[in-house]
Amino acid sequence: MGESGFSSPRHDAFPAGLRVLVVDDDPTWLKILEKMLKKCSYEVTTCCLAREALNLLRERKDSYDIVISDVNMPDMDGFKLLEHVGLEMDLPVIMMSVDGETSRVMKGVQHGACDYLLKPIRMKELRNIWQHVFRKKIHEVKDIESLEGIEGLQMTRSGSDLVDDGPLLSGEDMNSARKRKDAENKHDDKDLSDPSSTKKARVVWTVDLHQKFVKAVNQIGFDKVGPKKILDLMNVPWLTRENVASHLQKYRLYLSRLQKDSDVKNSFLGMKHSDPPSKDSTASFGIHSSMSMIQDDVSNSTYNFSVNNSLVQNVDLNHEGDKKGITSAPVAEAKGALSLDIPDPRKAQSSQISFDHSLGSVDSGLKFALFNSTNQTQYSWSEISEIQFKQECEPLQLENGFSQLPLPGSQHQVQTEYLQPAASISSGPSITEKEVSSKPLYDEYRSNHVKHLSPTEAVDLFPVPSKNQTLNNQVFNPISATMSSTKNQGISLNDVEFAQRNLNGGVGVPYASLSEDLQFCWLQGDYYAMNIGLQDFECIEYNDPPLIAEIPFLLYDAPRFDHEHLFDPTEYAAIDQGLFA
């Protein structure tokens, strides 16, 4: 075997030449697997660090057909890597572990692994991994068809083809129609029987694109959604139904995972936060985890998969013009979680969507939180569907600029909590006034938790760009949501921690990567949002209304808070690159 430097479609018979990327921190296993895969006539690349693997994958997106990764790795949890790969690169991923406990295997499957192998691995198991590559290709085609129905087949986007086939497509016809469709959809001549050569240009789901997607989904109604409908609404000429279908699939998976995770997260509440680091809390949340919040209002709310530079720039958390627009980092979360609709008080309806999504864009929220450099604005994301933040609630809160409410506590609670603050705010002097409202809010919190709140607020997932303080746009941090309303004082911190944890952990896979990226770019190398953030929060004192108002600007503005900054405008640029470099 020995194809050397073969990065284009293999010319030999599939599955020979299958391009495999193996990731394992154990050097012994790495060598063994390499040898085994070579014996299967596969083209092998080995990697002992997850981060390195991701870089490799990102650099040359089409260089690999499948990824095999160990579950336990020092620099990144295997499941996170799995999510990242699935979201960003859409490659099949096989997990491996010495541990065959059912719960672990289940977790692997939940995170999207197409198989879970137990070590020691046998040759025959590796010989068959090509089936996952094949299956994925077939299913992608099928998804489109099944979603669209036969009519869909007949009407390709371009509307030209299959019409000839007429409405009655027999199975056979479907195959040919499908093939034809494939040919049209994909841009090369693909023969379904050779999945290895079937490649569609990978669509880069930019924040903007994702936002359109989410918007379309919301408009249609999550339950009635279908790729064709979405595609039509999105009105993006070059996008194929297939692209939308697979994106939708991921989105759904993501949302459902978020929902599950949020349950887990709730249990984390109550974690104490560590001492606030001098770093400003904002830093911690500064991670603009791609505010994927897909706010209707926010232009960038959607997170794009390829956040190349959008992170910082696009994120528009707020409807406000100031929004720096934290583009939801393409953080791996792209998987569908992005549709966080950031509730915007102003736009009640848009916000509604986010809430209605049962999937809970919590993850997205978390991500966003990351970006919030300024912890101050803690946007609690009530996204979680459980939060049921209905529109009515939103306006209340948002107007007050609550978005920050870091309601810790279970999602359900969040809702309530949220409302509460709103209530309090309303009682406050200026609920409507942005600046003012923030103040009462904080005061309110302060009285309740004071310190604690700050962190949560700081958690901000959304950097409220404008002074508007209206956090409204905020993208409520899912984190906060998960954090459950902190009615309790210490909660806020926990929330932050929680959020961070979530962020790190698994809330959004991308998030983790984001934070890591962010680390590089940002701050003094601190890990922001994730670990530090929480601590920083404590520092946030609410007594600083002006600051609070400024929270929105977060991300991109130089940290106004006392904390040292979280971000520096220059850093943002760095972040951009760092994030998705």
Partner: protein, 146 residues
């Protein structure tokens, strides 16, 4: 004669390693992977294992000596070690690792320490045996090619 004799010795020793449970099927897999492209594959892998496991053993020692003992970290290390030893088919070592992890989960420090001694012992025994084995293999090879 010599060659046959050496070869015979190798075969016998190999068999006993399996019979006595020091090695399991994974070792055979490694042997099967060995080919012209990698004629010393098994030895290379085993050497790699020694290096890596030395590091892991040290980590575990450190974790066991710290106080209070961080059981989850300990479990992590042992998990890695178990994965590593399973890669070459070190059956007895892997089995001891399993016992260790049980104690770890139960947060039984004493049990962990005791079991770890067992782990190290099995590891040392296996290592010695394999060294002898490979030496014989090399000798037989030399004789073979001679």
């Amino acid at each position: 004669m010599d060659r046959n004799h050496l070869q015979h010795q190798v075969t016998c020793m190999r068999k006993s390693l399996f019979d006595q449970g020091y090695l399991d099927e994974q070792f055979i897999q490694l042997e099967e992977l060995q080919d012209d492209a990698n004629p010393n594959f098994v030895q290379e892998i085993v050497t790699l294992f020694y290096t890596d496991s030395a590091r892991l053993i040290q980590n575990i020692e450190q974790a066991l000596n710290s106080s209070p003992i961080d059981f989850s970290k300990l479990d992590d290390y042992m998990h890695q070690f178990k994965g590593s030893s399973s890669s070459i088919g070190a059956k007895k070592v892997t089995d001891e690792c399993k016992v260790f992890r049980e104690y770890c989960r139960a947060e039984n420090a004493e049990g962990c320490i005791r079991t770890f001694q067992q782990v190290k012992q099995e590891y040392a025994i296996l290592r010695r045996k394999l060294e002898v084995y490979f030496q014989m293999v090399r000798q037989a090879d030399v004789a073979h090619t001679a």
